[in-house]
């Protein structure tokens, strides 16, 4: 009996180590990425948000600094909107290998990341990782409070780094109730869910240009711990 338990726990540890290995490889692949600046175009296909395409310049500095520079009003998804290869730190998550499979001719694994510090990260993720090229192909935010978000990422090569050229975000999140006093016409109406797609295309990468921290001290900067 003790022997069987020992064997099971060794297999479990083996699988766990295997799972973290994939994240280690991604971290290693991007270890030379210090910062990047990129032009981003956001296209909304959401019924409850009628907006034309929005453009901005996005600044990122490892490990978690982000800033958006836009002369105009700019809506940017909090989750899955930009690429940060360092956000899935193995110290912050319990990592479980869900499955190995072939997807679009590529060898991929699915990892489930459950936050260890729930105050810092309030949700888990399921990552689909291309094991041939050590790339995160898909990020699925574990359904919580009726929210489902899925990001599919396409990459291009820029200055020796594979960085996103397109992130397709699928949203299905609950909307809020109308604020304040309801009008007569609003009786019986339930808050509509925000469903649809947001497509972010990235161009004109400038990688490792030596962005100073001062850039991120201005307004519109955002230090993201919980958003990939």
């Amino acid at each position: 009996m003790a022997g069987i338990l020992f064997l099971l726990s060794t297999e479990l540890i083996q699988a766990q180590e295997d799972a973290t290995r994939y994240l280690d490889l991604i971290e290693k692949k991007y270890s030379g990425l210090k910062d990047y600046v990129v032009d981003v175009n956001v296209h909304f296909d959401i019924e409850t948000l009628k907006a034309p395409d929005m453009q901005a310049k996005l600044y990122f500095k490892a490990p978690d600094k982000m800033k958006v520079d836009s002369r105009k009003v700019f809506f940017f998804p909090k989750e899955g909107g930009y690429f940060n290869p360092f956000v899935f730190n193995k110290k912050d998550f319990e990592i479980k290998l869900l499955e190995r499979l072939t997807h679009d001719g590529k060898n991929v694994v699915r990892l489930k990341l459950t936050p260890t510090d729930t105050e810092r990260y309030n949700k888990g993720f399921v990552l689909t990782i291309d094991t041939d090229r050590n790339l995160i192909r898909e990020i699925k935010i574990s359904p919580s409070e009726g929210r489902e978000i899925k990001a599919a990422i396409e990459y291009g090569m820029f200055d020796g780094f594979e960085l996103p050229i397109c992130i397709d975000l699928q949203l299905d999140i609950p909307g809020s109730e109308p604020s304040g006093m309801r009008e007569f016409t609003q009786f019986g109406q339930r808050a509509k869910r925000i469903t649809g797609k947001v497509q972010m295309t990235y161009s004109n990468y400038k990688v490792n240009s030596g962005l100073s921290d001062e850039v991120f001290k201005e307004k519109n900067s955002h230090q993201s711990k919980s958003s990939p």
Partner: protein, 280 residues
């Protein structure tokens, strides 16, 4: 034309005419200053359905948004200000005892009533233009420019209009608002033609507007059935110019219905004034 300018002179010589302009200036200044002071609260209310999932950058609470917000809030109150002059313009002649003197002069009754009606329209247009000027100029000074984001809570959606398009859209919205107010002015004008004092037309017009607005907004099937027959249902068609895409067929239909109302109400006033008995 002479008669028209004469009526304009008479109307703008009365202090009552300026109450509306003063009221609008006071409300707009007060609203915009309070909005400036409570900017964070307003932004939270505006964006809370999206702020949880989106980072929002840029000047959302700008002069254009404030203008649209005030237009939304005041479209019930402006009719009252319009009736102050429109409801008084004909009946005032009876109250001050000048109606007989006026009607024995060479200009025909038709010319007199038409001149008075155009004066009413001039005042109505002036009032809405004044509202537009003060809203936009003060709004842009206090809040700056930017893209316009409209949160249509009754439709549960957000509409985003790029800054380049906003001035034209706002201009069209105010033109549409003027067109809507013309119906209220015409109704007050008709009542003014029928009455011998000014209070009746003012209260009568407001009563009609308020009752129609309340009935039109009740969420019961019976009232929903009636609402297409109430002119107040079409009075908010200016909002269409701040929507995406602009619902042109709906706007055209509403503008036509309101136009028919104005023409109809003026025609009744025209006939009533021509048949008015001034001997008794």
């Amino acid at each position: 034309m002479k008669l028209f300018w004469f009526e304009i002179y008479k109307t703008f010589s009365r202090w009552r005419t300026y109450i509306s302009f003063g009221f609008i200036a006071l409300i707009v200044i007060l609203t915009e200053v309070v909005m400036k002071l409570s900017a964070n609260e307003i932004l939270y209310r505006m964006m809370r359905s999206f702020e949880r999932d989106f980072l929002i950058f840029g000047n959302v609470l700008n002069g254009w948004f404030v203008t649209a917000f005030i237009m939304n809030s005041l479209h019930i109150h402006i009719p009252f200000l319009i009736t102050l002059v429109a409801g008084d313009i004909v009946s005032n002649e009876a109250t001050s005892g000048t109606v007989r003197f006026l009607l024995i002069r060479p200009p025909s009754r038709s010319k007199i009533i038409t001149a008075k009606y155009f004066t009413t329209l001039f005042y109505t247009t002036g009032l809405v233009i004044f509202l537009a000027l003060i809203c936009v100029s003060l709004g842009l000074i206090l809040f700056g420019g930017g893209d316009l984001i409209m949160n249509y809570q009754n439709k549960l959606r957000i509409v985003f209009i790029p800054e380049e398009e906003v001035p034209v859209r706002i201009l069209l919205a105010f033109a549409a608002a003027t067109w809507s107010m013309t119906v209220v002015a015409s109704l007050a004008f008709l009542f003014s033609t029928l009455a011998e004092n000014s209070i009746g037309p003012i209260i009568g017009t407001m009563a009609v507007v308020i009752v129609f607005l309340v009935i039109g907004n009740f969420p019961f099937d019976f009232f929903r059935m009636i609402s297409p027959y109430l002119f107040t249902t079409y009075m908010i068609f200016w909002q269409g110019f701040l929507d995406n895409p602009i619902p042109w067929p709906e706007i055209g239909r509403s503008a036509m219905i309101l136009g028919f109302h104005s023409v109809g109400l003026f025609s009744i006033a025209f006939v009533a004034f021509n048949r008015k008995d001034i001997k008794s």
